[in-house]
Amino acid sequence: MIETQIAGIGLEGGLIQALSDADRRIAEGRLVRQAQSGDLFAFEQLYRENHRKVFALCMRLSSDAALAEELTQDVFVRAWQKLGSFRGESAFSSWLYPLTVNVALSERRSRRRRTSRFFATDDLTAFDRPPETRAPGPEAGFDLEKALASLPPGARAVFVLHDVEGYKHEEIAGLLDMAVGTSKAQLHRARKLLREALES
């Protein structure tokens, strides 16, 4: 009881979330300016506000909790290094999430190079899986997160960015350094595989 209460307190979600919308915008702007001037405490507040969303995105892009935690840390270290380039014309999160995608997918690319497993983004047949590896289970028990984890990385990344995060194909193409047509093809592939996974 006591432990539960204590654990329930804390600032993991960040204090800004407790503010009204108007206060939140002002507070975020000031925190960014303070962080840009080298104030690590202010940057910690920005971390507290955003790290769960960053972690969720890293988790879905990597499908590996331990790696997603490392990537989340990488994202905020990179954000600190590049904070000077943020001009405050958009919300901090709007600047941070493309950075997250870049960090997560750079890691995937470097890992791919290390393991010599290369999936050409235009060669979607490389993502085909044999029928026996398709996610089984009745539709009622369909778990999208698990089904996502079973997707080929490229198709998963496009699906997450387009259908979960709401990015447009043009934005995805820029983030993933691919043609718009490739992004659409990857999305088609991801959705098809998920429809198959939904099939009992």
């Binding site: 006591i2 307190i9 407790a18 507070a27 104030d39 969720a56 935690e69 270290v77 959705r191 939904l198």
Partner: protein
């Protein structure tokens, strides 16, 4: 339009990006093809689930300490003039407390946090070797100083923010009361002692952050 042609247009149809003519052709095909309607239904279900996924997930551990360490390491690696500033900006001070002996008064080992570059950070916390009783007094004194600072800045925070802060503080105070009562029944219990100090830390940490935040508004 054939089933294959519909399959090639299924994503644009679902995303609402088909031309009016193609949209009508797909609609016509779906009205007569049960198999394609089923595929369409599955896609809609998947897209609805994707939109409903939680946008936030919690990592299994606090990742900030690692981030701060790497940032600090980067700062230390820069020019000499930058080193002094970096050292002064170590903000991730943590008060770690462990019960040493089951004796009265109970000694606790406390490592003080690093300096924080805001006025509220001048509030000092218990030093190493402080007894539990003395440590509690120090935490309470620190909390009172921060509460006074917060009182001075109340006007900079919205009523909603203040209500949330006060609600959190009430929970911490209730926890402190319950742990103290439990310690009264079981003096020297290490777990309870850690919980008591942890609750004090959370209170001071919460107040410190709120006061700091209020100065940024």
């Amino acid at each position: 339009m054939t089933c294959d042609e519909v399959d090639g247009r299924r994503d644009d149809y679902a995303d609402g990006s088909l031309s009016e003519g193609e949209f009508q052709e797909v609609e016509l095909h779906l009205s007569t093809c049960a198999a394609c309607r089923e595929q369409e239904r599955r896609l809609r279900l998947i897209l609805a689930e994707a939109r409903a996924l939680p946008r936030e997930l919690s990592p299994s551990r606090d990742l900030w300490a690692g981030v701060a360490q790497r940032i600090e390491a980067g700062r230390r690696g820069r020019a000499t003039w930058w080193l002094g500033l970096a050292a002064a900006a170590v903000l991730v001070g943590a008060v770690s407390v462990s019960l040493l002996r089951r004796s009265d008064p109970v000694p606790v080992s406390v490592s003080a946090p690093g300096p924080v570059t805001v006025p509220v950070s001048r509030v000092s916390l218990p030093r190493e070797g402080t007894t539990l009783g003395a440590a509690e007094q120090e935490y309470e004194r620190a909390a009172n100083e921060l509460l006074a600072a917060l009182q001075d800045r109340r006007q900079s925070l919205s009523p909603q923010t203040l209500a949330n802060v006060e609600s959190n503080l009430a929970v911490i105070d209730q926890a402190l009361t319950e742990v103290r009562a439990a310690l009264g029944r079981d003096p020297g219990n290490k777990d309870l002692t850690r919980m008591l100090v942890s609750a004090h830390r959370k209170k001071v940490d919460t107040l410190r952050r709120v006061v700091r935040l209020s100065t940024s508004l």
